[in-house]
Symmetry: D2
Subunit: 356 residues, 4 copies
């Protein structure tokens, strides 16, 4: 009934606040016998880590992960894998000023209404810091999926500026600070984001995740369809406001003959002549690439003064100082990849249980 676990067969439970002693997670259901070391997880955490360019928050977190259980002599044992990251650079003093004010666009007000108490330091549980554990769990999920399944994310829009999809080149993604697959767009975004940052503003973005090599058959209709699960996983990422699969919202404007992906035999293999479905039909993977996109709103922490109210019920103005991302969508890319990995790993094991 509480909501801090994700998945059923591959089950991730996370804990921790932005400025508490530590954040961590427990991954239950990991198949035994997989090679797993801290370095396998750290490599993904490092992708998400803040402070790597001027385009992300300057908070410095080593984010050094420690495996506390579930691994013996370098291999998973089938028992829960617990991961821990101690919080080291917390600067609680930055947040004292907003103790009594609800930051617009943040979860301050709703946590207060829900629980009647909130850890206001750095957003507490609602801080984007928690996504580190999603990324860590995603690294284990990738182990479960094996190397045939390749999950990659990219930013396809920053603010109003979309990439040219014809220029998509996966190799570009690691070559710019935005995970942008279009070199020219990346260059334009750099200028755009510098302006945003200097203005004390922020901007949104759209992330696309593609999973190749996913076997057909994953997804559990009627309610745990693969697309439904991906939608939940991605919409639950901080600042997400929209999710689409394959053609997505554009599909609404299509006519039937243009939308349904036709099929042909290629030797003894079934192939699809298009991928408007985004690799999912009837909530089950088809063997095509899984394609999902999510919209991320602009960071709510900005230097522009905004109208708000206080815990005491008075009108107020607020400016959110501190170290923030001008475009949180950037750091959302490895998080979105990780959530897709977790969903796929969970459904791979669920599939194997019933139909394996």
């Amino acid at each position: 009934m509480p909501g801090n676990s994700f998945g059923q067969a591959f089950r991730v439970t996370t804990f921790g606040e932005s400025h508490g002693p530590a954040i961590g997670c427990v991954v239950d259901g990991v198949p035994p016998g997989l090679d797993l070391a801290e370095a396998d997880i750290q490599v993904f955490l490092d992708k998400r880590r803040p402070g790597q360019s001027r385009h992300t928050t300057q908070r410095q977190e080593a984010d050094a992960v420690r495996i506390l259980s579930g691994v013996f002599e370098g291999r998973t044992t089938g028992t829960p894998v617990a991961l821990l990251i101690e919080n080291t650079d917390q600067r609680s003093k930055d947040y004292g000023a907003i103790k009594d004010l609800f930051r617009p666009g943040h979860a301050d007000y709703t946590y207060f209404k829900k629980y009647g108490i909130r850890d206001y330091r750095g957003g507490g549980r609602a801080s984007a810091r928690e996504t580190a554990m999603r990324v860590a769990a995603g690294a284990i999920a990738r182990k479960v999926l094996g190397t045939d399944v390749v999950i990659r994310g990219a930013m396809v829009q920053m603010g109003p500026h979309a990439i040219d999809r014809a220029a998509w080149n996966w190799d570009q993604v690691a070559r710019n600070p935005f995970w942008c697959p279009d070199a020219q767009a990346a260059s334009a975004w750099e200028t755009y984001l510098d302006g945003i940052r200097k203005a004390g503003s922020s901007t949104g973005g759209v992330i696309e995740v593609v999973a190749e090599g996913v076997p057909a058959g994953l997804g559990e209709p009627l309610f745990d369809k693969l697309d439904a699960e991906l939608a939940k996983a991605l919409m639950g990422i901080p600042a997400a406001k929209g999710v689409e699969i394959g053609a997505g919202f554009a599909a609404a404007a299509l006519e039937g003959p243009d939308n349904a992906d036709e099929m042909r035999m290629d030797g003894d293999k079934v192939t699809f002549l298009a991928n408007n479905a985004g690799g999912i039909l009837g909530g089950i993977s088809s063997g095509q690439d899984i394609v999902a996109r999510l919209a991320i709103k602009p960071t709510s922490s900005i230097l522009t003064p905004r109208r708000t109210v206080s815990v005491q019920g008075t009108d107020a103005e607020i400016v959110t100082k501190g170290r923030h991302d001008p475009c949180v969508a950037i750091r959302g890319v490895p998080v979105a990849e990780a959530m897709v990995a977790c969903v796929l790993a969970d459904h791979l094991l669920r599939f194997r249980g019933q139909c394996g």
Copy 2:
């Protein structure tokens, strides 16, 4: 691990195939003492029922629902409420021709790959017929929520034709066969859809659901956030390809100061000066209207011949005859409302458990 249940505290389990003896559901967790009669459910089923205009499938189903348990002397007892609808107009003969062919855009291929066997009659479990039970469960969810919570859906786009939001009038919704809140758009859609139907084609659409009166505090971070749960609920509706909350994908193009909804006191009540958040902050309801949209792809059953493959692994052509909806989005409106109701009822009870 299997996927035919939805919700945790208000838990809906459905069963049944399009052409089997019956479809039904079990709703567990219904609070005791609520007035509940078959008529309370039937009124919503009648909204969804096919064959009510030339714009929806001509399949004739009385869809008469029977309460089998959980109600005593007109009130819920707290035990599971089981609902049953016998299938009466099944015409299995319509489907024999496609026994060995996978219909493009349908779940035929993926069910076959997943289970190795499929009930091909009318789409079997993957038929939109199953949505009747979602609607029935939604009627019970509304009882749980009480009359202060008002959940209404509307179509806001058909094919490429969006409504004029300035012309939104809830009263119009019941006055046209499309649940369209814009009278002029409804009239244009009528012409457009007649053309689509006569051409043996189909089209998509966008549905918007608004829930008013939802108390602040619903939603269970980090993974069962209210928006994540709505995304799952709506993306799981047959033919859905995208979900957004509040400003949705448009939020990605905004800058911070334009996106975060400012707050002000109105007497001793907190008010928001805009609703880009769609009533949800940090995954928890804020007390504002909940606003969700979903994109529905065009019906995949069309009269245009399409390329496909056979169960036996040969290339083929297929034309999907039978009685189909030229725009399934229309009948999706009461289904989307019902899913939103189920999510809210579930989270109301979950909230009460931990924080009540």
Copy 3:
């Protein structure tokens, strides 16, 4: 959060009241491709059916089960299997007299305290009638387990009269109305139970279930250990008051060297030299026979007048007329077998998911 579902991978959800229109269940997670017909289920229901000898209630229920979904051309499809039994011999008039009185030993008082409303007809949801659906689900569970797994139950004690375990003969079980494996005990029980019945009294009993052929490896520590799950499954049977595994309570009186089952190689197979463990070590099946026992209290519906209180809060006397079992433990045997089958099927699929 509500409690009418059992199992996670092989998931049974039941519904229905003793005197409502019907009882039923939905079994989700059934692997596809299993042969399944109504007759496969009916055979087990017939074992449990009342009115077969003078030793069980004379209520006459055909208990004819109908498969509503999940089976196509005689094989399971992987979608939910729904089962329905219409209630036909309800005689609600028998129960009007106790509408306002709480029967001692029954759930009348606690349902009233919990829900504030109760369907008093025949015990409503708390009637032993619900166990028919457990038996039905168990029949499907056996299909999942396959024919190598043999699950058999027997009564080993009636009232104070235990069997002679040295005289155990499985063949005897079907030859007396008590599922008693000791012919001599069965004969003594007959006399004893006639006396109980004629006195308007009732008696308890102990049931033993043995599952042979269960593969090693089933059970999910730390909390869903196989013995813990069996304990839950069996203690949840109406009137159960105790559960033990292997040596059970007797193990408490043993010393270490006498209790721990020693092991030896038999060719390349591991064998155990005793089975105090009841086939479960550390919560995981060892490949030995699973042995579980449960204690059933005497039927609470008796003709002896008992002191009680009324819904209105006054002292009263009550005599429970109607058609009752002098020893409900008898009809509990097929129910206990079924619950063991459900637990094993669930854990077989769970095992396969993580370790398969």
Copy 4:
């Protein structure tokens, strides 16, 4: 699907191996606003801690618990409470000798068969060390239940030696190293257990837990009945072989009029004239004391040489050296109390969700 979480509304997830870096747990669903400090938990851990008398293992663990999340300024925030205990006295060298042998009565063989790999150091995940986290979680559960609910455990039998129930005195429980409520029995046990220990043997025991002040209405039929949940919780404790509620197995030998607890009004309060039910009717608490007992087998680690087999499939002999409890039932008392507390807290929140 994996099994390292317990409870649904009050949800405990544990992790950690006997000789890994740490053990810990995450408790999700804790209501906000409860006072909680490490000392509140430590007091219960200290009851369970080994090495406190010559009658328990001499392993020295400080078992100092650290709260990592979910508490702010001394109060719970409604977010997950994570607890951590670093392992400090691990002596892995003690266990190298049994790396390749399966200890009879232990989980060595079954973990190996299930996972194909096992952390053999100190029993790994199957070590009784994990019960520290059950005790820790139980301390939080008590906070949820409030001070009106009093949960106390006692040993009522050691080996073949039962207490005299007429001599029951709760005050005695803390005055002897056995949690024995009968002073005379405690004295006899001391002599008995010294003999057992010196012989390198071990013995079993029976624990009784009584929960007073539990409100009527807790428990979720049909499958999550309160007694079924208690049975699962208690049978899952290491070395448990039997569970009973109220009269338990003795109820099987009773006749109806002697078993069903009669009721009378005491002013406007309902009272029961006996408690054979152990406080639970129809799976729901009645407001009487909850009474549960569990049987614990003798410690399997003994100095007597036993026959076993090796991982390589050869016959062998084994003597289990190391630091062990001659009667693990003793340290099981606080563990059993904790599990009862967890079940009751979970069901209090579940009740509140549906019926609150």
